[in-house]
Symmetry: D2
Protein backbone atom coordinates (compact mmCIF):
# COMPACT_ATOMS: atom_id res chain seq x y z
CA UNK A 1 0.00 0.00 0.00
CA UNK A 2 1.46 3.30 -1.16
CA UNK A 3 0.37 5.20 1.95
CA UNK A 4 2.60 3.35 4.40
CA UNK A 5 6.30 3.71 5.12
CA UNK A 6 8.37 0.84 3.63
CA UNK A 7 9.05 -1.00 6.92
CA UNK A 8 5.38 -1.01 7.87
CA UNK A 9 4.32 -2.12 4.37
CA UNK A 10 6.84 -4.97 4.43
CA UNK A 11 5.67 -6.12 7.86
CA UNK A 12 2.00 -6.03 6.75
CA UNK A 13 2.81 -8.04 3.60
CA UNK A 14 4.85 -10.65 5.48
CA UNK A 15 2.25 -10.95 8.25
CA UNK A 16 -0.43 -11.71 5.64
CA UNK A 17 1.92 -14.17 3.95
CA UNK A 18 2.51 -15.93 7.28
CA UNK A 19 -1.26 -15.97 7.93
CA UNK A 20 -1.77 -17.65 4.54
CA UNK A 21 0.80 -20.36 5.27
CA UNK A 22 -0.21 -21.08 8.87
CA UNK A 23 -3.96 -21.03 8.28
CA UNK A 24 -3.73 -22.85 4.94
CA UNK A 25 -1.36 -25.59 6.11
CA UNK A 26 -3.16 -26.15 9.44
CA UNK A 27 -6.53 -26.70 7.75
CA UNK A 28 -5.28 -28.78 4.79
CA UNK A 29 -1.86 -30.45 5.25
CA UNK A 30 -1.87 -30.90 9.06
CA UNK A 31 -5.45 -32.15 9.39
CA UNK A 32 -5.01 -34.45 6.37
CA UNK A 33 -1.72 -35.97 7.62
CA UNK A 34 -3.06 -36.44 11.16
CA UNK A 35 -0.96 -37.82 14.05
CA UNK A 36 1.42 -35.26 15.58
CA UNK A 37 0.41 -32.76 12.86
CA UNK A 38 -3.21 -32.78 14.12
CA UNK A 39 -2.39 -32.84 17.83
CA UNK A 40 -4.27 -30.11 19.68
CA UNK A 41 -1.23 -28.17 20.91
CA UNK A 42 0.29 -27.92 17.45
CA UNK A 43 -2.92 -27.08 15.62
CA UNK A 44 -4.07 -24.39 18.04
CA UNK A 45 -0.61 -22.78 17.94
CA UNK A 46 -0.79 -22.62 14.14
CA UNK A 47 -4.31 -21.17 14.24
CA UNK A 48 -3.30 -18.68 16.97
CA UNK A 49 -0.30 -17.60 14.87
CA UNK A 50 -2.51 -17.22 11.78
CA UNK A 51 -5.04 -15.06 13.64
CA UNK A 52 -2.45 -12.82 15.31
CA UNK A 53 -0.63 -12.32 11.98
CA UNK A 54 -3.90 -11.44 10.23
CA UNK A 55 -4.82 -8.90 12.89
CA UNK A 56 -1.33 -7.42 13.00
CA UNK A 57 -1.56 -6.81 9.24
CA UNK A 58 -5.04 -5.29 9.73
CA UNK A 59 -3.73 -2.76 12.27
CA UNK A 60 -0.59 -1.97 10.26
CA UNK A 61 -2.64 -1.32 7.11
CA UNK A 62 -4.71 1.23 9.08
CA UNK A 63 -1.46 2.99 10.04
CA UNK A 64 -2.62 2.69 13.65
CA UNK A 65 -0.19 3.16 16.52
CA UNK A 66 -1.62 -0.09 17.92
CA UNK A 67 -0.11 -1.92 14.95
CA UNK A 68 3.25 -1.66 16.65
CA UNK A 69 1.84 -3.16 19.82
CA UNK A 70 0.41 -6.06 17.83
CA UNK A 71 3.77 -6.46 16.07
CA UNK A 72 5.32 -7.26 19.47
CA UNK A 73 2.85 -10.16 20.00
CA UNK A 74 3.34 -11.22 16.40
CA UNK A 75 7.10 -11.67 16.87
CA UNK A 76 6.46 -13.86 19.90
CA UNK A 77 3.83 -16.17 18.40
CA UNK A 78 5.71 -16.49 15.08
CA UNK A 79 8.88 -17.62 16.87
CA UNK A 80 6.90 -20.17 18.90
CA UNK A 81 5.11 -21.45 15.78
CA UNK A 82 8.34 -21.73 13.76
CA UNK A 83 9.97 -23.79 16.53
CA UNK A 84 6.96 -26.10 16.82
CA UNK A 85 6.65 -26.60 13.04
CA UNK A 86 10.34 -27.42 12.72
CA UNK A 87 9.78 -30.70 14.60
CA UNK A 88 7.35 -31.96 11.94
CA UNK A 89 7.65 -33.16 8.33
CA UNK A 90 6.77 -30.94 5.41
CA UNK A 91 6.35 -27.72 7.37
CA UNK A 92 9.33 -25.86 5.85
CA UNK A 93 7.22 -23.21 4.03
CA UNK A 94 5.47 -22.41 7.31
CA UNK A 95 8.73 -22.16 9.25
CA UNK A 96 10.17 -19.79 6.64
CA UNK A 97 7.05 -17.59 6.58
CA UNK A 98 6.99 -17.37 10.40
CA UNK A 99 10.68 -16.40 10.56
CA UNK A 100 10.35 -13.74 7.85
CA UNK A 101 7.29 -12.25 9.55
CA UNK A 102 8.96 -12.24 12.99
CA UNK A 103 11.96 -10.40 11.56
CA UNK A 104 9.87 -7.74 9.80
CA UNK A 105 7.67 -7.20 12.86
CA UNK A 106 10.69 -6.99 15.18
CA UNK A 107 11.95 -4.09 13.03
CA UNK A 108 8.83 -2.08 14.01
CA UNK A 109 8.94 -2.58 17.77
Amino acid sequence: MHHLDPKTRTAADLALDCYKHCHGMATTHCLAVGGAHAERGHLTLMLACAEICRTTAHLLLMDSIHGRHMARECVEVCKACAADCERLDGMEPCVAACRACAKACAALV
Copy 2:
Protein backbone atom coordinates in the same frame (compact mmCIF):
# COMPACT_ATOMS: atom_id res chain seq x y z
CA MET B 1 -26.95 -2.64 19.59
CA HIS B 2 -29.61 0.05 19.87
CA HIS B 3 -29.15 1.30 16.32
CA LEU B 4 -30.37 -1.85 14.58
CA ASP B 5 -33.88 -3.12 13.98
CA PRO B 6 -34.80 -6.06 16.28
CA LYS B 7 -34.54 -8.83 13.65
CA THR B 8 -31.10 -7.70 12.55
CA ARG B 9 -29.90 -7.34 16.14
CA THR B 10 -31.13 -10.84 17.00
CA ALA B 11 -29.43 -12.32 13.95
CA ALA B 12 -26.15 -10.55 14.78
CA ASP B 13 -26.28 -11.79 18.38
CA LEU B 14 -27.08 -15.38 17.40
CA ALA B 15 -24.42 -15.40 14.67
CA LEU B 16 -21.79 -14.35 17.25
CA ASP B 17 -23.11 -16.98 19.65
CA CYS B 18 -22.81 -19.64 16.95
CA TYR B 19 -19.28 -18.42 16.13
CA LYS B 20 -18.35 -18.81 19.81
CA HIS B 21 -19.66 -22.38 19.98
CA CYS B 22 -18.25 -23.60 16.66
CA HIS B 23 -14.84 -21.96 17.01
CA GLY B 24 -14.54 -22.77 20.73
CA MET B 25 -15.63 -26.41 20.46
CA ALA B 26 -13.57 -27.12 17.31
CA THR B 27 -10.35 -25.89 18.91
CA THR B 28 -10.88 -27.40 22.37
CA HIS B 29 -13.36 -30.31 22.56
CA CYS B 30 -12.97 -31.70 19.02
CA LEU B 31 -9.18 -31.54 18.84
CA ALA B 32 -8.88 -32.94 22.40
CA VAL B 33 -11.27 -35.87 21.77
CA GLY B 34 -9.68 -36.74 18.41
CA GLY B 35 -10.93 -39.54 16.14
CA ALA B 36 -14.01 -38.57 14.12
CA HIS B 37 -14.17 -35.24 15.99
CA ALA B 38 -10.76 -34.22 14.59
CA GLU B 39 -11.30 -35.60 11.09
CA ARG B 40 -10.48 -32.96 8.45
CA GLY B 41 -13.97 -32.73 6.92
CA HIS B 42 -15.65 -32.15 10.28
CA LEU B 43 -13.11 -29.70 11.63
CA THR B 44 -12.93 -27.53 8.52
CA LEU B 45 -16.74 -27.39 8.37
CA MET B 46 -16.85 -26.16 11.97
CA LEU B 47 -14.14 -23.57 11.29
CA ALA B 48 -15.87 -22.47 8.06
CA CYS B 49 -19.15 -22.10 9.95
CA ALA B 50 -17.44 -20.10 12.70
CA GLU B 51 -15.82 -17.73 10.20
CA ILE B 52 -18.98 -17.17 8.13
CA CYS B 53 -21.02 -16.52 11.30
CA ARG B 54 -18.44 -14.04 12.57
CA THR B 55 -18.41 -12.16 9.28
CA THR B 56 -22.19 -12.20 8.97
CA ALA B 57 -22.42 -10.55 12.41
CA HIS B 58 -19.75 -8.02 11.34
CA LEU B 59 -21.79 -6.96 8.29
CA LEU B 60 -25.10 -6.92 10.19
CA LEU B 61 -23.61 -4.72 12.93
CA MET B 62 -22.57 -2.21 10.22
CA ASP B 63 -26.18 -2.14 9.02
CA SER B 64 -24.81 -2.92 5.56
CA ILE B 65 -27.07 -4.21 2.79
CA HIS B 66 -24.44 -6.91 2.26
CA GLY B 67 -25.30 -8.31 5.69
CA ARG B 68 -28.42 -9.81 4.17
CA HIS B 69 -26.37 -11.45 1.43
CA MET B 70 -24.06 -12.94 4.04
CA ALA B 71 -27.10 -14.11 6.02
CA ARG B 72 -28.03 -16.32 3.07
CA GLU B 73 -24.64 -18.08 3.19
CA CYS B 74 -24.87 -18.25 6.96
CA VAL B 75 -28.13 -20.20 6.84
CA GLU B 76 -26.56 -22.70 4.47
CA VAL B 77 -23.34 -23.35 6.39
CA CYS B 78 -25.13 -23.46 9.77
CA LYS B 79 -27.53 -26.13 8.53
CA ALA B 80 -24.63 -28.20 7.15
CA CYS B 81 -22.65 -27.80 10.39
CA ALA B 82 -25.64 -28.75 12.60
CA ALA B 83 -26.21 -31.92 10.58
CA ASP B 84 -22.54 -32.90 10.76
CA CYS B 85 -22.27 -32.21 14.51
CA GLU B 86 -25.39 -34.26 15.22
CA ARG B 87 -23.52 -37.46 14.26
CA LEU B 88 -20.95 -36.93 17.03
CA ASP B 89 -20.96 -37.15 20.87
CA GLY B 90 -21.14 -34.07 23.01
CA MET B 91 -21.86 -31.56 20.24
CA GLU B 92 -25.40 -30.64 21.36
CA PRO B 93 -24.55 -27.01 22.29
CA CYS B 94 -23.07 -26.52 18.83
CA VAL B 95 -26.07 -28.06 17.06
CA ALA B 96 -28.45 -25.80 19.02
CA ALA B 97 -26.39 -22.66 18.32
CA CYS B 98 -26.22 -23.46 14.58
CA ARG B 99 -29.99 -24.06 14.36
CA ALA B 100 -30.83 -20.84 16.25
CA CYS B 101 -28.49 -18.81 14.03
CA ALA B 102 -29.85 -20.37 10.82
CA LYS B 103 -33.40 -19.50 11.86
CA ALA B 104 -32.58 -15.88 12.73
CA CYS B 105 -30.59 -15.36 9.53
CA ALA B 106 -33.32 -16.96 7.41
CA ALA B 107 -35.71 -14.30 8.76
CA LEU B 108 -33.55 -11.61 7.10
CA VAL B 109 -33.25 -13.08 3.62
Copy 3:
Protein backbone atom coordinates in the same frame (compact mmCIF):
# COMPACT_ATOMS: atom_id res chain seq x y z
CA MET C 1 -18.37 -21.67 26.75
CA HIS C 2 -18.38 -24.47 29.28
CA HIS C 3 -14.82 -25.55 28.55
CA LEU C 4 -13.15 -22.37 29.84
CA ASP C 5 -12.40 -21.24 33.37
CA PRO C 6 -14.78 -18.49 34.57
CA LYS C 7 -12.31 -15.58 34.31
CA THR C 8 -11.36 -16.48 30.76
CA ARG C 9 -15.00 -16.96 29.74
CA THR C 10 -15.95 -13.58 31.20
CA ALA C 11 -13.08 -11.86 29.40
CA ALA C 12 -14.02 -13.51 26.08
CA ASP C 13 -17.67 -12.46 26.49
CA LEU C 14 -16.81 -8.87 27.41
CA ALA C 15 -14.25 -8.59 24.60
CA LEU C 16 -16.91 -9.63 22.08
CA ASP C 17 -19.37 -7.20 23.67
CA CYS C 18 -16.82 -4.38 23.35
CA TYR C 19 -16.15 -5.40 19.72
CA LYS C 20 -19.90 -5.15 19.01
CA HIS C 21 -20.16 -1.66 20.52
CA CYS C 22 -16.98 -0.20 18.98
CA HIS C 23 -17.46 -1.69 15.52
CA GLY C 24 -21.21 -1.06 15.47
CA MET C 25 -21.06 2.54 16.72
CA ALA C 26 -18.08 3.50 14.54
CA THR C 27 -19.79 2.34 11.35
CA THR C 28 -23.29 3.65 12.13
CA HIS C 29 -23.48 6.41 14.78
CA CYS C 30 -20.03 8.01 14.27
CA LEU C 31 -20.07 8.04 10.46
CA ALA C 32 -23.70 9.26 10.45
CA VAL C 33 -23.08 12.11 12.92
CA GLY C 34 -19.87 13.22 11.19
CA GLY C 35 -17.65 16.07 12.45
CA ALA C 36 -15.40 15.06 15.36
CA HIS C 37 -17.11 11.63 15.47
CA ALA C 38 -15.87 10.85 11.94
CA GLU C 39 -12.41 12.38 12.34
CA ARG C 40 -9.70 9.92 11.25
CA GLY C 41 -7.97 9.60 14.63
CA HIS C 42 -11.18 8.76 16.46
CA LEU C 43 -12.56 6.38 13.88
CA THR C 44 -9.37 4.38 13.42
CA LEU C 45 -8.99 4.07 17.20
CA MET C 46 -12.52 2.65 17.44
CA LEU C 47 -11.88 0.22 14.59
CA ALA C 48 -8.49 -0.78 16.08
CA CYS C 49 -10.17 -1.42 19.44
CA ALA C 50 -12.92 -3.48 17.77
CA GLU C 51 -10.40 -5.63 15.90
CA ILE C 52 -8.13 -6.22 18.90
CA CYS C 53 -11.14 -7.14 21.08
CA ARG C 54 -12.44 -9.55 18.45
CA THR C 55 -9.06 -11.27 18.14
CA THR C 56 -8.53 -11.39 21.90
CA ALA C 57 -11.86 -13.21 22.23
CA HIS C 58 -10.84 -15.55 19.38
CA LEU C 59 -7.64 -16.56 21.19
CA LEU C 60 -9.32 -16.86 24.59
CA LEU C 61 -12.04 -19.12 23.15
CA MET C 62 -9.29 -21.43 21.83
CA ASP C 63 -7.86 -21.61 25.36
CA SER C 64 -4.54 -20.58 23.84
CA ILE C 65 -1.71 -19.28 26.00
CA HIS C 66 -1.47 -16.43 23.50
CA GLY C 67 -4.90 -15.24 24.62
CA ARG C 68 -3.26 -13.81 27.70
CA HIS C 69 -0.74 -11.94 25.60
CA MET C 70 -3.55 -10.49 23.52
CA ALA C 71 -5.41 -9.57 26.73
CA ARG C 72 -2.50 -7.25 27.60
CA GLU C 73 -2.92 -5.34 24.31
CA CYS C 74 -6.66 -5.39 24.76
CA VAL C 75 -6.46 -3.59 28.11
CA GLU C 76 -4.30 -0.88 26.54
CA VAL C 77 -6.44 -0.19 23.46
CA CYS C 78 -9.72 -0.34 25.44
CA LYS C 79 -8.46 2.28 27.91
CA ALA C 80 -7.35 4.54 25.04
CA CYS C 81 -10.68 4.07 23.24
CA ALA C 82 -12.76 4.76 26.37
CA ALA C 83 -10.85 8.01 27.00
CA ASP C 84 -11.28 9.16 23.40
CA CYS C 85 -15.01 8.30 23.29
CA GLU C 86 -15.65 10.15 26.55
CA ARG C 87 -14.95 13.48 24.80
CA LEU C 88 -17.84 12.94 22.36
CA ASP C 89 -21.65 12.95 22.60
CA GLY C 90 -23.66 9.75 22.75
CA MET C 91 -20.72 7.37 23.20
CA GLU C 92 -21.58 6.23 26.75
CA PRO C 93 -22.38 2.60 25.78
CA CYS C 94 -18.99 2.36 24.06
CA VAL C 95 -17.15 3.85 27.04
CA ALA C 96 -18.85 1.37 29.40
CA ALA C 97 -18.11 -1.63 27.16
CA CYS C 98 -14.44 -0.63 26.81
CA ARG C 99 -14.02 -0.21 30.57
CA ALA C 100 -15.70 -3.55 31.37
CA CYS C 101 -13.54 -5.35 28.81
CA ALA C 102 -10.33 -3.69 30.07
CA LYS C 103 -11.12 -4.78 33.62
CA ALA C 104 -11.87 -8.41 32.66
CA CYS C 105 -8.74 -8.65 30.46
CA ALA C 106 -6.55 -7.08 33.16
CA ALA C 107 -7.64 -9.93 35.48
CA LEU C 108 -5.98 -12.42 33.09
CA VAL C 109 -2.61 -10.76 32.67
Copy 4:
Protein backbone atom coordinates in the same frame (compact mmCIF):
# COMPACT_ATOMS: atom_id res chain seq x y z
CA MET D 1 -0.26 -22.08 -1.37
CA HIS D 2 0.93 -25.25 -3.04
CA HIS D 3 -2.02 -27.34 -1.87
CA LEU D 4 -4.68 -25.47 -3.87
CA ASP D 5 -5.60 -25.71 -7.53
CA PRO D 6 -4.39 -22.66 -9.54
CA LYS D 7 -7.79 -20.97 -9.93
CA THR D 8 -8.52 -21.18 -6.22
CA ARG D 9 -5.03 -19.94 -5.31
CA THR D 10 -5.36 -16.98 -7.67
CA ALA D 11 -8.77 -16.06 -6.26
CA ALA D 12 -7.45 -16.28 -2.67
CA ASP D 13 -4.45 -14.08 -3.55
CA LEU D 14 -6.56 -11.47 -5.34
CA ALA D 15 -9.18 -11.44 -2.58
CA LEU D 16 -6.46 -10.68 -0.01
CA ASP D 17 -5.03 -8.01 -2.33
CA CYS D 18 -8.47 -6.41 -2.64
CA TYR D 19 -8.91 -6.58 1.15
CA LYS D 20 -5.58 -4.75 1.57
CA HIS D 21 -6.59 -1.97 -0.82
CA CYS D 22 -10.16 -1.47 0.43
CA HIS D 23 -9.34 -1.69 4.14
CA GLY D 24 -6.11 0.31 3.81
CA MET D 25 -7.56 3.10 1.65
CA ALA D 26 -10.79 3.41 3.66
CA THR D 27 -8.93 3.90 6.94
CA THR D 28 -6.17 6.16 5.64
CA HIS D 29 -6.90 7.98 2.35
CA CYS D 30 -10.71 8.22 2.59
CA LEU D 31 -10.89 9.29 6.25
CA ALA D 32 -8.01 11.75 5.74
CA VAL D 33 -9.53 13.37 2.61
CA GLY D 34 -13.00 13.60 4.16
CA GLY D 35 -16.08 14.92 2.31
CA ALA D 36 -17.61 12.41 -0.10
CA HIS D 37 -14.73 10.00 0.63
CA ALA D 38 -15.78 9.78 4.30
CA GLU D 39 -19.52 9.70 3.70
CA ARG D 40 -21.15 6.79 5.55
CA GLY D 41 -22.45 4.94 2.48
CA HIS D 42 -19.07 4.94 0.76
CA LEU D 43 -17.02 4.05 3.80
CA THR D 44 -19.23 1.18 4.96
CA LEU D 45 -19.26 -0.25 1.43
CA MET D 46 -15.45 -0.24 1.38
CA LEU D 47 -15.29 -1.86 4.83
CA ALA D 48 -17.93 -4.44 3.84
CA CYS D 49 -15.96 -5.26 0.68
CA ALA D 50 -12.73 -5.58 2.69
CA GLU D 51 -14.34 -7.95 5.21
CA ILE D 52 -16.04 -10.15 2.61
CA CYS D 53 -12.81 -10.38 0.58
CA ARG D 54 -10.83 -11.34 3.68
CA THR D 55 -13.31 -14.05 4.63
CA THR D 56 -13.55 -15.37 1.07
CA ALA D 57 -9.76 -15.80 1.06
CA HIS D 58 -9.97 -17.51 4.49
CA LEU D 59 -12.45 -20.09 3.19
CA LEU D 60 -10.60 -20.63 -0.10
CA LEU D 61 -7.30 -21.21 1.74
CA MET D 62 -9.03 -23.96 3.79
CA ASP D 63 -10.08 -25.60 0.51
CA SER D 64 -13.63 -25.54 1.88
CA ILE D 65 -16.62 -26.03 -0.39
CA HIS D 66 -18.08 -22.94 1.27
CA GLY D 67 -15.30 -20.89 -0.31
CA ARG D 68 -17.19 -21.08 -3.58
CA HIS D 69 -20.34 -19.81 -1.92
CA MET D 70 -18.40 -16.89 -0.46
CA ALA D 71 -16.87 -16.24 -3.89
CA ARG D 72 -20.37 -15.52 -5.19
CA GLU D 73 -20.90 -12.79 -2.55
CA CYS D 74 -17.40 -11.52 -3.18
CA VAL D 75 -18.10 -10.91 -6.87
CA GLU D 76 -21.21 -8.92 -5.97
CA VAL D 77 -19.65 -6.66 -3.32
CA CYS D 78 -16.46 -6.09 -5.35
CA LYS D 79 -18.49 -4.90 -8.36
CA ALA D 80 -20.53 -2.55 -6.14
CA CYS D 81 -17.38 -1.20 -4.47
CA ALA D 82 -15.55 -0.66 -7.79
CA ALA D 83 -18.52 1.32 -9.14
CA ASP D 84 -18.74 3.47 -6.02
CA CYS D 85 -14.98 4.16 -5.89
CA GLU D 86 -14.91 5.16 -9.56
CA ARG D 87 -16.91 8.31 -8.73
CA LEU D 88 -14.18 9.60 -6.39
CA ASP D 89 -10.65 10.98 -6.83
CA GLY D 90 -7.59 8.86 -6.23
CA MET D 91 -9.36 5.54 -5.85
CA GLU D 92 -7.94 3.89 -9.01
CA PRO D 93 -5.87 1.25 -7.14
CA CYS D 94 -8.99 0.21 -5.25
CA VAL D 95 -11.11 0.01 -8.42
CA ALA D 96 -8.48 -2.15 -10.12
CA ALA D 97 -8.13 -4.49 -7.10
CA CYS D 98 -11.93 -4.91 -6.85
CA ARG D 99 -12.26 -5.70 -10.58
CA ALA D 100 -9.40 -8.24 -10.52
CA CYS D 101 -10.85 -9.97 -7.45
CA ALA D 102 -14.38 -10.06 -8.93
CA LYS D 103 -13.04 -11.67 -12.10
CA ALA D 104 -11.03 -14.35 -10.25
CA CYS D 105 -13.92 -15.16 -7.91
CA ALA D 106 -16.40 -15.33 -10.80
CA ALA D 107 -14.21 -18.05 -12.33
CA LEU D 108 -14.91 -20.25 -9.28
CA VAL D 109 -18.69 -19.94 -9.13
